[in-house]
């Protein structure tokens, strides 16, 4: 590691700009990977939806559209707070960054809590096709397929959001300490990209499952 104008540069890089571009490209490639991960299950969903349009629509009528919409709003707001946090951290405004990161984490947790509430309601209604649980949905069988896809897709998304929240929490602590501000700025940027990605995935999940 050699310092250059207050920026720590790792051995393999020549300049700070090169290092930053490498980080960015790495993150974008990672997001491309993630996009294809979700792409696989979306392709499955679309295929089945074309095969069983009416049954899927009937099953989707059991979704809690209100809670889903609320959650969409929560996530969109969190994207805004992340973007602002990135903006502020670049200007070296530590306290304001902390506030916005805190808000982001809170919104992420709120989303997960609402999601958990939804799952609980569905569990009470007997809409969870898990072994050992009573499945009380009376439509034709592909309806259960809809629920299978619903739990898989929202579950995978919630898992990603959980990772994103944990990542933000770590970065919150790092910004709190404020040891190497230039690195913290990069970290907020990278975590922010990931956060936006998780939000965007939701923007596909939500209409696909709730608004059919």
């Amino acid at each position: 590691m050699s310092p250059q104008a207050g920026v720590t540069i790792q051995t393999q890089f020549e300049t700070a700009a090169q290092q930053r571009e490498a980080d960015q490209l790495g993150m974008w490639l990672f997001l491309a990977t993630e996009a294809l991960l979700f792409g696989g299950i979306f392709a499955g969903y679309l295929g089945y939806r074309v095969l069983h349009p009416e049954t899927f629509a009937a099953a989707a009528a059991h979704m809690k559209v209100g809670l889903g919409t609320l959650n969409t709003a929560v996530l969109l707001t969190s994207s805004l707070t992340v973007a602002l946090a990135h903006h502020l951290v670049q200007q070296g405004r530590r306290r304001a960054t902390l506030v916005l990161l805190g808000a982001t984490i809170a919104l992420g947790c709120a989303f997960l809590a609402i999601k958990a509430l939804e799952y609980t309601l569905e569990f009470r209604e007997g809409l969870m096709p898990l072994p050992g649980l009573e499945f009380r949905y009376d439509g034709p069988p592909p309806g259960q397929m809809f629920f299978n896809l619903y739990y898989t897709m929202t579950g995978l998304h919630a898992l990603h959001l959980t990772v994103a929240v944990v990542m933000m929490a770590v970065i919150f602590v790092l910004v709190w300490r404020w040891r190497t501000p230039d690195r913290q700025a990069r970290q907020v940027e990278m975590a922010g990209l990931y956060w936006h990605f998780v939000d965007i995935v939701w923007l596909f999940v939500y209409p696909a499952l709730y608004l059919v």
Binding site: Q10, T11, Q12, F13, E14, Q18, E21, A22, L25, G26, L29, F30, A32, T33, E34, L36, L37, F38, G39, G40, I41, A43, G44, G47, Y48, L51, H52, T55, P129, L130, P131, P140, P141, P142, Q144, M145, N148, L149, Y151, T152, L156
Partner: protein, 549 residues
């Protein structure tokens, strides 16, 4: 990478290596310094050790398969065990040996050296990839010890999700985990090539090895996640009963095949592109000529990577996909062979009027060209809709992909390992033995797999442990070939390690011209270069006239 005449072949430049003293191997020697290393060259060795281990296990399974098939009756193992043997063989060879083989060993070692960088872009991530690989390997070994898995390497549903009573979850988890190792390696390589090239090293000055590693990485990053999700869905179905492929719920098992081959067809190019890279380095060096049609070869690598995403349906011609889909996939499969053919023509043209030196690595490279061509051509047979109805799931398919993956990729891997062995170790191995090993391998390989084409045409289906007597002669020939092939693989496992002790010290025994040879010590120092090299010309500046006296 210069325009001066190539140094003569076989020149012994002992001076630099001896004078330098310190290198990446001896600057620290504790076990800890190896297990926590972030040096791409040491990580290459970690991978080399691990994949050799898995190659050995995979080969043992293959040996048992060939033993069973010597007689028509299923007498050595019962059919259940046989199913587990070929599944284990496929899973280990594909994901724990072939996919990582060249990229993680030679690729890791060479990529930064070839582009004049001090390391990959994310050295710690590189080490993490190895640990993830190891974790995935442990899952797979556990699955094996827990009784094995019998779904074949393709994990087809609904058998894998609803019916098999074997350790499917454990095995799928192993493959799922090792996928992330591939993804991270691919990501790392791509960023490295984009961002860490030395001054003057433009894209069209990159050696083909770098182009092919780049193309491979692209596939790793874009295809592997689709495999991950398909395996995840199988695991969900088995563990939680969340059946996405369950026909009773209106699910379609064909969906799994689509997802699986969307990964696995591109992934077969993961298992050949790096081999193409290796021979593109070896052939110019020992023909003493620049690579013919450099740009075409470079772009063909990307072409293969991209078009490879459009042909997956050729694995499902008889699985009930629509005839129109079949016709389109058939057409695309013909087209995807074009860039591969371009490469073969260019390698051959490079030889024309070259001064050909039949060294060990060169023999491996020439074997590659021949075997790959045969494998690729038979791919075209299979891509022909009507013909595939007859050939699908026969030994013809088995022979097709073994010609490419084993005859091609594994041969290139061995050739590359020996070509760069002096660079990696500073020692020269026994060339005579290398020549013997390469020839044994070529004969053994053809004896093993050529009969399988004939078996397939005659109608012998794959994945059966007993067969009608009419097929015995060809099966015996194949098993005999397998023994010879095993000898061909075991020889390097003896003379390469032996060279570490008895081999003479060398610097650049081939007079090769890549940056890794001309700008770095042998073995290289910790961060590769004493000063960042500046590149002023195209690669492969070999010349015919600088010949040994």
């Amino acid at each position: 990478m210069s325009t001066t005449a190539s140094p003569p072949l076989g020149r012994r430049l002992d001076t630099r290596a001896a004078a330098a003293g310190r290198n990446y191997l001896n600057e620290s020697t504790s076990l800890r310094s190896w297990l926590l290393t972030t040096d791409h060259k040491r990580i290459a060795w970690l991978y080399l050790a691990s994949i050799t281990f898995f190659f050995f296990i995979g080969s043992l399974a293959a040996l048992l398969i060939r033993l069973e098939l010597i007689t028509p009756a299923g007498d050595l193992v019962d059919s259940d065990t046989y199913n587990k043997l070929f599944s284990l063989h496929g899973i280990i060879m594909v994901w724990f040996f072939l996919v990582p083989s060249i990229p993680t060993t030679l690729g890791n070692f060479l990529l930064p050296l070839m582009i004049g960088a001090r390391d990959v872009a994310f050295p710690r991530l590189n080490l993490l990839s190895w640990y993830i690989y190891t974790l995935g390997g442990l899952f797979t070994l556990t699955a094996t010890l827990a009784g094995g898995v019998d779904t074949g390497w393709t994990f087809y549903t609904p058998y894998s999700s609803m019916f098999s009573n074997t350790a499917v979850v454990m095995a799928a988890t192993g493959v799922f985990v090792v996928g992330f190792s591939s993804i991270l390696t691919g990501l790392n390589f791509m960023v490295t090539v984009h961002k860490l090239r030395a001054p003057g090293l433009t894209w069209f000055r990159l050696p083909i090895m770098v182009w092919t590693l780049y193309a491979t990485s692209l596939i790793m990053v874009l295809a592997t996640p689709v495999l991950s999700i398909s395996l995840l869905l199988i695991v969900l179905e088995r563990v939680f009963g969340i059946g996405i492929f369950d026909p009773a719920l209106g699910g379609d098992p064909l969906l799994f095949q689509h997802l699986f081959w969307f990964y696995s067809h591109p992934a077969v190019y993961i298992m050949i592109l790096p081999g193409m890279g290796v021979v593109s380095e070896i052939i110019p060096c020992f023909a003493r000529r620049p690579l013919f049609g450099y740009r075409a070869v470079a772009l063909a690598s990307l072409g293969i990577a991209l078009f490879g995403f459009l042909v997956w349906g050729h694995h499902m011609f008889v699985s009930g996909q629509s005839l129109y889909a079949g016709a389109v996939f058939s057409l695309f499969s013909f087209l995807v062979a074009v860039p591969s053919a371009i490469k073969v023509f260019n390698w051959t043209a490079t030889l024309y009027q070259g001064r050909i030196h039949l060294t060990g690595p060169m023999l491996y490279a020439l074997s590659f060209v021949g075997l790959f061509t045969l494998g690729g051509l038979t791919g075209l047979f299979l891509a022909t809709l009507a013909l595939d109805v007859h050939l699908h799931d026969t030994y013809f398919v088995t022979a097709h992909f073994h010609y490419i993956m084993v005859g091609g990729m594994v041969t290139a891997y061995f050739g590359g390992l020996q070509f760069w062995w002096p660079k990696m170790t500073g020692r020269m191995y026994s060339e005579i033995w290398a020549v013997i090993a390469a020839i044994t391998l070529f004969i053994g390989f053809n004896l093993t797999f050529f009969p399988q084409y004939l078996l397939g045409i005659a109608g012998m289906p794959r994945r059966y442990h007993s067969y009608p007597e009419a097929f015995q002669l060809l099966h015996v020939a194949s098993s005999a070939g397998a023994v010879l092939l095993a000898v061909g693989y075991l020889l390097p496992a003896i003379y390469l390690p032996a060279s570490l002790r008895w081999g003479r010290r060398v610097d650049n025994p081939w007079g090769a011209l890549g940056l890794e040879w001309t700008a770095a010590d042998t073995p290289p120092i910790k961060h590769n270069f004493h000063q960042t090299p500046v590149v002023t010309g195209p690669p492969y500046g070999y010349r015919n006239d600088a010949e040994p006296a």
